[in-house]
């Protein structure tokens, strides 16, 4: 091996599958599942709103870890010095984000109401059209040209030939 990993290998370690470990494994499963990518329908308003919600919070806990100790030191210093300023800005941005989410929820509800009303209207128009199509043959039967012709003929017969 080109690396020196063998010195760190632990061959005789006994796995811990105790009750606490199993509870922890379940916790890990749930926590990692939350971060999975998911597909959403582009027309799905609630899905889009969920995405807005996920990015609406602004985190001021800037990562300071670095492989270089001096860089980490500088990052920590900058973070502490600018913390009050970042927190002030983040508070406003978080308020803005929350308001946008609220606006999105209101609009989503309105869109859903409109869609529901639209569905109801469509159903009602459909029923009216069905009724109309049932009525049309009867109306046509009473007002068709042959009916009109025979009615005229009867009237003519009664009145005698036209001269």
């Amino acid at each position: 091996m080109s690396n020196d990993s063998t010195t760190a290998l632990r061959a005789s370690r006994r796995p811990d599958f105790g009750a606490d470990a199993l509870v922890y494994i379940e916790k890990v499963r749930k926590a990692t599942k939350r971060l999975r990518a998911y597909e959403t329908n582009p027309e799905d308003v609630r899905g889009a709103l969920q995405r807005v919600r996920e990015v609406s919070g602004f985190n001021v806990e800037v990562p300071v870890l670095s492989a270089r100790r001096e860089v980490q030191f500088v990052k920590t210093g900058v973070k502490r010095l600018s913390g009050w300023y970042m927190a002030y800005l983040a508070a406003q941005l978080n308020a803005f984000g929350a308001t946008i989410v609220r606006l999105g929820e209101t609009m989503a509800s309105r869109v859903e109401d409109l869609e529901r009303n639209g569905d109801e209207l469509t159903a009602r128009v459909g029923a009216v059209e069905a009724r109309l199509s049932r009525l049309e043959p009867k109306t046509a039967a009473t007002t068709s040209p042959s009916t009109v012709a025979s009615t005229s003929a009867k009237r003519s017969n009664k009145e005698g030939p036209i001269r």
């Binding site: 690396n3 632990r10 470990a21 998911y38």
Partner: protein, 360 residues
Amino acid sequence: MRVDLYLPGFAPHDAISNHTLQVRRVLREAGYGSHIWAEHILGNLGREARPYQEDSPLPGEHRLLIYQMSTGSAMAGWLRSRARAGEELLGHYHNITPASYFARWEPHIALAMDNARQELYMLAPHTALSFADSAYNEEELVDCGYERTLECPILVDLEEYHRPPDRATLDRLRRRREGTQWLFVGRVAPNKCQHDIVGAFAVYRRVFDPNAHLTLVGGGTSPNYLAAVQRLIGELDLGDSVEILGGVGDAELLAHWAVADVFVCLSEHEGFCVPVLEAMELGVPVVAYGAAAVPETLGGAGVVLDDKDPLEVAKAVDRACRPGPARDHLIRAGRERAAIFSLANTSKALLAGIEGYLAG
């Protein structure tokens, strides 16, 4: 005869940029003129490439244009216009991450990925031949309407990985090491699924080795996803057993490879996955989720999982890290597999592809 190379971003420590430099070397050694043209030139690479807007064909000159396709760029439209003007356009597809991975975290990147895929479709009728890093990438090209394709792996100089590692970093890592050292190299991005690695590592640490350590190396493309991974590390009480380093220099990276016991890759989308190749070359066993082109790159020389359940991954890592014939086999098979992707082999394949095209 000139064969010019085009890529959207030309940056240090970037696999596609390094590939492009190697392609230019191969072409020049074979007697072709070759220049690199890019949209964004970063770091100190200004001497190696020029902005593509400055490119104009010399009158009567016969040249090929090879576009390195991996992301969206205004350059795609410009190349289409060159192809329409009668120049011969070739492509090399390194894959485009599906937008769905970024939609949740960075909607603007998701949009950019969608645009990049549109450009891939747009260039299909104008591209005479397109190389693909893997059969997986080639299949995507065919689906996008590319009629003439050829599988040709990305060019990586594996000899570079046998340089001495950064001494200070190596000393630091050796001082702190106690337990099993997990390593993953790749940008912090939702498709790379660092959260799954953290989850599997947490279980491994709880069940198999409380002294284990995980190092995630790679620059970030999604700050929101990175923040979520950092929160996950806190939530799972992993403290400083997980280190997220961001981008590091080559020598420093070699120090991390030198102490790594296992390379764990749970990525869901890779067009090739160069770090898997690096691990195999350096004798670090690979445990990977079998998605996209990863199984193809591994070629049976690593542990391929069809399930990312944290406990299953932890068990697989435990098996791969135990000294014995199984681990030795993984290391040996990895090195043999990496040799297939030696720079000599891949350079030869690419040149044969280009000359085959020119010969008709």
